[in-house]
């Protein structure tokens, strides 16, 4: 029996679902190996008995919360895809606005922390229900996470093939630097750029450094120890405060801050 697959979207850019359609070379094989039964972005029919549900986007409204619970109920395996679903993603930046200040990842409404809402909607702000932006694991149990902004489509494929072959799927437990070395990319530190690679989970094939751009940490922090080391190194070796780098790390994973030292 082919596994029945669904692809859902919460608050996000839907780039991760789109990435699945960008697996052009493998798409027909994929469609041969699984049954896609629910994918709003690409199809009209929708079914609700689902083996593996993929969700992109963060939970950021009361509606999202309801939906993700619904997904959980109807999917045997629930997989968060992309940084929004795994880490909160870029949506969490809204918590670093105006009165909230850099550390105030507070609930909406506290300390005028919905300044972001007013900025966009003015006195109509109340019309737009919104909650703290969170990864879906903050609301429901998630079986697997495939982080990345966007999700790494090759990793998605590797995930599906592992499942089909009965291999346990595991995210790399090492930093992006490993992949830079394998690709033979010149380390950005040699160009004086503080790259987030040493503290970021690999699996993206170090694509950003390969294209001359520093790793922005979109796959999340690889380990607490690495972050502790970063704090020490930045201060002692580079004369930079960790806080500045945290500002960068926040781009896709502000929600991780709860775990930061």
């Amino acid at each position: 029996m082919k596994p029945r697959i669904a692809i859902f979207s919460l608050t996000g850019c839907e780039g991760c679902s789109l990435a699945i359609l960008e697996l052009e070379d493998q798409l027909l094989d994929l469609l041969g190996a699984v049954d896609i039964v629910n994918f709003r972005e690409g199809m009209t029919d929708r079914a609700w008995d689902i083996d593996i549900g993929f969700v992109d986007g963060a939970v950021s409204t009361p509606e999202d919360e309801k939906e993700v619970r619904h997904f959980r109920e109807h999917c045997k395996v629930l997989v968060a895809i992309g940084s929004c679903a795994c880490l909160g993603g870029i949506n969490t930046l809204k918590h670093y606005q105006g009165a909230t200040g850099p550390k105030g990842r507070g609930a909406i409404g506290e300390n005028g922390s919905d300044a972001y809402r007013r900025y966009v909607y003015g006195d109509k702000a109340e019309w737009f229900p919104t909650t703290e932006a969170r990864p879906i694991s903050a609301v429901v149990k998630v079986d697997y996470e495939l982080p990345g902004c966007p999700m790494v489509k090759e990793e998605f494929l590797a995930f599906v093939t592992s499942l089909l072959a009965g291999r346990t799927f595991k995210l790399p437990d090492f930093a992006v630097c490993v992949e830079c070395k394998k690709r033979g990319t010149l380390c950005l530190y040699e160009k004086g750029i503080l790259c987030l690679g040493p503290v970021t989970r690999a699996g993206c094939n170090a694509i950003c450094p390969a294209f001359g751009s520093k790793c922005e940490g979109c796959r999340g922090i690889v380990s607490k120890e690495a972050l502790v080391a970063a704090g020490i190194n930045l201060r002692e070796q580079y004369n930079v405060e960790l806080q500045e780098v945290l500002d960068d790390l926040r781009l896709y994973g502000a929600y991780q801050e709860a775990d930061l030292p």
Binding site: A165, G166, R167, T168
Partner: protein
């Protein structure tokens, strides 16, 4: 004009290739361990030494090292005892009799049985350590006249973790081995000894240090305490054998994963003499 290239023919291209072997028999030993009897499809024999291991493959999933738990004196088939621990071993547990898996080996250095001939033997097994040791136990029993006294001490955490209980009964009844068993945590039915494996030393007769070979296989925590008991009985360090476990990938001394200090456990071991291990700080930690 360019010189013609020198022809080159690879001589060992099958280094990493597993060979298909059929599962002839599966016995559930405990909740976590199953016992497999296997034979190569092409009729080849494994021809191993006790203490060696094989790499077991589920193609598409991976490969992992497993000790051979049967004796080379029973050469038509070979046996493995596999604990469910991760992705490969879980998949192996899902297999049924007649299924086929990949085997590469035998690998590593086993016990030097000829060195043991004519000696008294003391074996100490802890937990899953019984699996590699069983190969040697069977060997000694099959070649019983070549050996002197034979003591086997076996410790487990709980009675339900005891491996090869049928064998244990048979061995004990044969009278060929002085078998002592203990568990850390007894259950209601347990009538035997309770306590860590070192408590069994009290039951041993006086050992003859020059004529005794000691073999220790078990988890690292057990190891140190047992060695102390053994050394206290004046056994020379060159007569104490033990078997190490490390993460392994290639099993042939290339990949580096099993390195403990300067040794490669897969090719220099997994069987070592205590004298060697002492120089390896990491092995003792």
């Amino acid at each position: 004009m360019l010189a013609p290239p020198i022809p080159y023919k690879p001589t060992n291209a099958e280094l990493y290739l597993p060979k298909p072997a059929r599962i002839l028999r599966i016995t559930q030993l405990t909740e976590m361990e199953k016992h497999y009897e296997l034979a190569f499809l092409d009729g080849h024999r494994l021809n191993h030494q006790p203490g060696q291991f094989v790499q077991v493959s589920i193609l598409g999933v991976g490969e992992c090292p497993i000790s051979i738990c049967s004796s080379p004196t029973r050469p038509d088939t070979f046996e493995l005892c596999i604990r469910r621990a991760g992705s490969v071993t879980n998949r192996i547990h899902a297999l049924r009799e007649k299924d086929i898996i990949g085997i590469r080996g035998p690998l590593g250095h086993g016990f030097d049985v000829t060195e043991m001939h004519g000696k008294d033997i003391l074996m100490i097994a802890g937990g899953l350590g019984m699996a590699p040791l069983r190969s040697l136990v069977q060997y000694v029993l099959d070649e019983r006249p070549r050996f002197g006294q034979f003591h086997l001490l076996y410790g487990c955490r709980e009675p339900k973790e005891l491996l090869f209980t049928d064998d244990l009964t048979r061995w004990r009844e044969s009278g060929d081995v002085n078998l002592k068993i203990t568990v850390d945590r007894p259950d209601e039915q347990w009538r035997g000894r309770v306590g860590v494996v070192t408590t069994l030393f009290a039951d041993l007769p006086k050992l003859n240090p020059q004529d005794t070979v000691v073999v220790i296989v078990g988890p690292p925590v057990m190891f140190k305490f047992v060695v102390i008991e053994v050394l206290a009985r004046r056994i020379p360090q060159s007569s104490i054998y033990c078997s190490l476990e490390r993460r392994m990938k290639c099993g042939i001394g290339k990949c580096g994963h099993c390195q403990a200090n300067h040794v490669y456990v897969c090719i220099d071991g997994p069987v070592f003499k205590y004298g060697q291990l002492k120089a390896m700080r990491e092995a003792m930690e």
